[in-house]
């Protein structure tokens, strides 16, 4: 089916899963306010939110099997959108499942915590669908405003307040950059639609146009902030450490996936004609993010901060896919995102399982001898660390993720051989901290007097083992995910001759 986006009712149909999630979230918001705050009510709203996310996943899957597309319009209807939606929805499912137990332990009572995750996910789905810079802005705001609140959810924690304020101020700053970039690009091309910008940039030879160059640069800075790529990563470690751990996992995976997906779509659809201008900056951004993330992570003792720097390094890896500027690069990007999301979620779930009330026990020394008291958690954590590192077989799908990224980098029209070498070398550096976690868990004795980790809740345990099994199984049979990510590249809309007007 080809949607005519100029027709309101067809536009609504094309937004089906997004609308289901938004309407459901509004209803759940009212239900959350209807009863006084309590653990039971929080868990009940959490269960309903899980059901809503599952329904949205089912609807997205149904949409993705129908081979739908659309004409030139404000939103995209293609497999790239559905693929990104599924990653973000799985992220939301994990965040709510982990949150239901984490909130009880940390005495976070508001049931709205789950509803805010739903609203943030709605923003991500709009981002994944956006084919117009105004919709990109709308999606980023809807996502970010919910996340600002979620970071500061734990009102008793000064670190959470610090993280929330820091994220809010820097996020607002980054949004200003993004908006100014959008304004300049609109000023030079006369359109906010990605397809039209792409055509006009090529037709009007904008590569050396100063206003367009400044706009592209500002857009790059704005997206760089949102995906926490060095040198725009300064907020990430503090915010990731202060936020409630399920929200940290949500930010490190779903928020990053959505921001990166938009980044990639804007770059592939609107700015391929600007390739000469953005190639070198993105090249350096990727190299610096990989280098800074991996080297600074070496000295981290707090697991949440360590994973924060690790996620900065992974932003660098994903930027390599953006730098290729090809559809092969975007297939590798989706594949890598699946591998990274699974491993990060699992790792943060283990951090929740080992942690204690007051967000304590997140230090590396608390993991000493974990193998002796919680062998299952230790083995799962080892799988996550090896997967993030890209280790073959035991790292499961993580190895293939890096493999396809390297292949895409080398096969790109402008070969990124040097960048591929940087990727491999920094991955070797990353072994220094990923394997260190494994070493601490397996080779150190449990310190005397160290209390055993508390009993892990069933939902947290479910997330830990489901992600670990998924990583290993998909590592043995990656072909399905490969086929899925190859089919999921952004596809150009059906262009009618009338919609292409001359550049102004």
């Amino acid at each position: 089916m080809i949607f005519d986006l100029a027709n309101p009712s067809q536009l609504m149909q094309a937004l089906g899963p997004d609308l289901l999630l938004i309407v459901g979230a509004i209803v759940l918001m009212l239900w959350a306010a209807w009863r006084p705050e309590s653990d039971e009510h929080q868990r009940a709203v959490g269960r309903a939110s899980l059901a809503l996310v599952a329904a949205t996943i089912a609807m997205t899957l149904w949409y993705s099997t129908r081979g739908m597309s659309s004409n030139v319009g404000v939103i995209a209807v293609d497999n790239f959108r559905w693929a990104t939606d599924l990653i973000c929805l799985l992220g939301a499912f994990g965040a709510i499942a982990l949150g239901m137990e984490y909130n009880v332990r940390e005495r976070i009572l508001p049931a709205e915590s789950h509803v805010l995750v739903l609203f943030a996910t709605a923003g991500m789905m709009i981002l994944a669908a956006a084919r117009d810079l105004m919709i990109v802005f709308l999606g980023i705001e809807l996502m970010s405003v919910a996340i600002y609140v979620l970071v500061g959810l734990n009102r008793r924690s000064p670190k959470a307040a610090e993280g929330s304020l820091k994220y809010f101020l820097l996020g607002a700053f980054a949004t200003a950059f993004l908006l100014y970039g959008i304004a300049l690009i609109y000023g030079s091309t006369g359109s906010t639609n990605l397809t039209e910008i792409g055509q006009r940039v090529v037709a009007g030879n904008f590569v050396a146009h100063p206003m367009m160059l400044a706009g592209t640069g500002l857009l790059l800075v704005g997206f760089g902030f949102k995906v926490a790529a060095a040198p725009f990563h300064m907020w990430a470690p503090d915010v990731y450490e202060g936020a409630p751990t399920p929200i940290t996992a949500f930010m490190a995976t779903a928020v990053k996936a959505a921001a990166f997906a938009t980044f990639l779509r804007v770059w592939l659809e609107a700015l391929p004609g600007m390739g000469d201008a953005w190639f070198t900056p993105i090249w350096w951004l990727a190299a610096v993010a990989m280098f800074v993330g991996n080297t600074v992570a070496l000295s981290q003792r707090n697991l949440k901060r360590l994973l924060a720097y690790s996620s900065i390094a992974h932003s660098g890896y994903l930027l390599v896919a953006v730098a290729t500027g090809t559809l092969g690069g975007s297939a590798a990007f989706l594949f890598y995102l699946v591998a990274y999301t699974l491993a990060s979620y699992g790792a943060f779930a283990v951090v929740i399982a080992v942690g204690r009330e007051g967000d304590a026990n997140n230090d590396l020394s608390d993991y000493e001898g974990l193998w002796h008291v919680r062998p299952g958690l230790a083995i799962a954590m080892a799988v996550f660390m090896l997967s993030l590192m890209g280790f073959p077989i035991f790292g499961g799908i993580g190895f293939f993720g890096k493999w396809y990224l390297l292949m895409a980098a080398i096969e790109a029209p402008r070969p990124l051989t040097t960048l591929a070498v940087v990727l491999v070398l920094t991955s070797v550096v990353s072994a220094g901290y990923y394997l260190n976690v494994v070493r601490v868990m397996f080779m150190k004795a449990r310190p005397d007097g160290a209390a055993d980790p508390e009993r892990t809740g069933s939902l947290t345990r479910g997330v830990v083992y489901a992600t670990a099994v998924a990583i290993l199984v998909l590592g043995l049979v990656p072909s399905r995910v490969i086929g899925w990510s190859r089919a999921g590249v952004p596809r150009a809309p059906q262009i009618q001759a009338a919609s292409v007007d001359a550049p102004r």
Binding site: P8, I26, M29, L30, A33, W34
Partner: protein
Amino acid sequence: MDRNYIPVLFLLGIAVLTAVAIIGLSHLVMRSRPTPVKQQPYESGMPPLGDARERFSIKFYMVAMLFIVFDIETVFMIPWAAYYRQLSCAVPLVGGACPAGQISFFGLGEMLVFMAILLAGFVYVWKKGALQWD
């Protein structure tokens, strides 16, 4: 450059000149006889009490925030109202009127959706007790 911006430039110049003239002229013309009372900050004619940087109850911020949210949301209705004639017509207007049989409820429906979302927010705020002073 675009000639359309010249009036803006004029306005900018006049604004700067007026500001400079007011401050400069009063400095030249005024007679300075300061007294302690005259030097105090003006506070509606009362003698000032204490520091202005006090802590206010969180309730005031709550009301201010809610006011801003709902106030801005109603501001969004103005462009809708200005464009309403076109929004409730399925085809482009002919001479400012909608051709017979082409009336659609799209514009009205959009505003109803907007109002429904606004209402959901209002019910939430009410139920949360944010409108109660104590």
